[in-house]
Symmetry: C2
Subunit: 95 residues, 2 copies
Amino acid sequence: MEITFKAINDPTRREILVFLIGGAQNAGEIAKQFSMSKPSISHHLDLLKQGNLILAEKKGQYIIYSLNRSGFELVHSWFQGFAQYFEFPKPKIRL
Amino acid sequence: MEITFKAINDPTRREILVFLIGGAQNAGEIAKQFSMSKPSISHHLDLLKQGNLILAEKKGQYIIYSLNRSGFELVHSWFQGFAQYFEFPKPKIRL
DNA sequence: TAAATATTTAAACGAATGTCTAAATATTTA
DNA sequence: TAAATATTTAGACATTCGTTTAAATATTTA
């Protein structure tokens, strides 16, 4: 969980995730979207992969990245507890 | 948005949020939950407040912290795009 | 096989982060 | 008013993070 939240923390990585909603892409195409070196993007992709937010599949000399349901499910379920709180707020403590 | 994700990134801060599901608490009671100095917790509370994830209300010499719907709504709406991509089941409660 | 292409790994470095102790501020109580 | 309590602010410091350039690995093409 720690690594998944960490992966989501960076703005560039969040942009990569949003970009991938449009469909799977190879590393080079992803890197083109950003004014940043390819090694930096490669590093961000690695962290997103560690957080189970994307999948990597090697296709020849390319590596195709796509969104991974698993990481999003983790975060989604963490938020469910709060969704319930806001629907049924508990009384404040007595002072 | 940046500051909200940043606030959620730290494990101690996430624990504070989960703790507050149980109801509003003053800073001292929150600090008791952790083996960490009060100034550190105070700092974490400040970041959570900046991220609109908690509210602070002064009551005498105490400061009462409670969950703030606003920050959670922000993150939740960001996730909606992915929920649609993955076709997550819709939650019973909408944030 | 050699060159070109795609991507990652390694090393370095400044900036940001989380923690601590000490001091400051605000409020309540004796 | 002085002391006690609650909390924050300030300053310091080690660790983590994001970025870069240079080098390495893997694959395809000429």
